[in-house]
Symmetry: C2
Subunit: 298 residues, 2 copies
């Protein structure tokens, strides 16, 4: 395979990013961020989560965020939902696209979502069924795909198995996710190639965190396989880049800079994206986690 | 080609890194840094420069640094020299390996080293001749290889031409250097492949800066060509990572993490390398520019 000519960026900053930031920001600021991302050319934006406000207070106002967003037909806004109750809230808020979050590591699953991998899949099943019946697009996150904080490396067949189950369940896409950012390029390419063999390349997205600075190299390795859907979070949201063990998402700006440099289209205006990232970083009271954002448009 | 089984890291932090830091540190601290790098397993260390103290005050004490270093037979210490006067100083200090610094961009050459590309090569010629006669290994830096702050992209044949001239002059190695960190992986691979075709892969080193976060992806792309000599600077020395337009070197820790993750040997103890990086970052009064250093051993 060769790299794709066009890549679709899935901007996860407003959800995976902000839910892992220590500072909570207002509904207005969240809406402004999503609108700025849309104006910059992002066509897919994960804008919130319908999870328990007790566990994730940063996402407690997702109803309000979705309520205030100017819906544009050309842009796909999605929300994370953990269970059928969350799905009902999302549907009531007019959400047309959802994601469910599983872990390929048994220990991480138990500690992070409080049930075994199999139980989590049982819990997603009615959500995906209901969403499909409503014509709602569903993405599955296969987290810990390249490593688990408790178990270390996860056997690739376990990752493939989870991804295959997501698709069999009715998900349209799986995000192979290096939640702790521990993966390196050869490993990333190997695991993603196995997943693509199992479920089809067109259903594969990749989701990297930049904890050890490996994310862009991993993305480049996956581009060689033809992967054309890549997650990023503007400003590297999701963990202060200067804190110990920070595990912020890879910065969308840095991905877009690389892709454009490689002659790959994204439809995104890099300058506008950097501006959006620098605004949200300022609101959070910290530097942007994007090197491109810091270098060019500070 | 496939990636090499072993990579030689050329640690340039004590020279290319420190000479671009705003804070000047003591001879003792410089020596301690070099010794810590050696103890961590670095076999090639660029430890100083014999340049005008008027232009580069951070390197004014290189005689003292080389004088105090415990020379170990297994470790190659090198110094940058700009001209024959610098070479005489280096030789008097017992330096056994040198580097000369040219630019593939005419404008950058004139502004940075104050002469045309051809004049710079004329100036290096007697240096390389003298060094060769003394049995001193010479590296040539081809800077601006992937971009120039004044001219933008440099035509790859101009980069190839400079590298070929370095070799014809008697240099044993050329570092293809992305001085401003602007390059992206496809471009890096293309330019480096052309250089390798012209001078032989075994004479090629790659030198990246992480201004736009592209360095590891570029290195990964070059590894696919078989490149086995890679420059890095511990702690990403050479520009505060949080300042606008900072152009610090790619952090050696992040390179080594990637290489070890890919099963490529370096002979370096990553933990000891991170410790060395965190010590020098603390001395400079700032965070390490290495994500691995920040995540693991802060």
């Amino acid at each position: 395979m060769s790299p794709p000519r066009r890549v679709q960026i899935v901007e996860v900053g407003p959800r995976d990013g902000l839910q892992n930031e220590a500072v909570n920001i207002s509904v207005e600021a969240k809406v402004a961020l999503v609108e700025a991302l849309a104006a910059a050319g992002c066509k897919r934006i994960e804008a919130g989560a319908f999870v328990s406000p007790r566990w994730v207070p940063q996402m407690a106002d997702s109803e309000l965020v979705f309520g205030e967003l100017k819906k544009r037909a050309s842009i796909r806004y999605s929300a994370l939902v953990p269970n059928i109750a969350g799905y009902e809230r999302a549907r009531a808020a007019g959400v047309k696209e959802i994601a469910v979050f599983g872990a390929a590591s048994e220990t991480f699953s138990r500690r992070n979502i409080n049930c075994s991998i199999n139980d989590s899949l049982q819990r997603f099943w009615p959500v995906v069924e209901a969403a499909r019946a409503d014509g709602v697009f569903v993405r599955g996150y296969a987290s810990c795909a390249l490593g688990c904080p408790y178990e270390g490396r996860i056997a690739p067949p376990a990752v493939v198995s989870m991804c295959r189950t997501f698709i069999e369940m009715g998900c349209s896409e799986v995000a192979v996710s290096d939640t702790i950012g521990a993966g390196t390029p050869t490993q990333a390419r190997d695991v993603v190639a196995r997943v693509a063999d199992a479920i089809g390349l067109e259903r594969v997205a990749v989701h990297f965190h930049d904890t050890y600075g490996q994310a862009l190299a991993n993305i480049y390795a996956c581009l060689q396989l033809g992967v054309a859907t890549i997650d990023g979070a503007v400003a590297g949201l999701g963990g202060c880049p200067y804190a110990k063990g920070a595990s912020g998402n890879v910065a969308s700006e840095d991905i877009v800079y690389m892709l454009h440099g490689m002659g790959i289209e994204t439809g995104i205006n890099l300058e506008a994206l950097c501006a959006a990232g620098n605004v949200i970083a300022t609101r959070l009271g910290r530097e942007s986690g994007s090197r491109v954002g810091r270098a060019l448009w500070k």
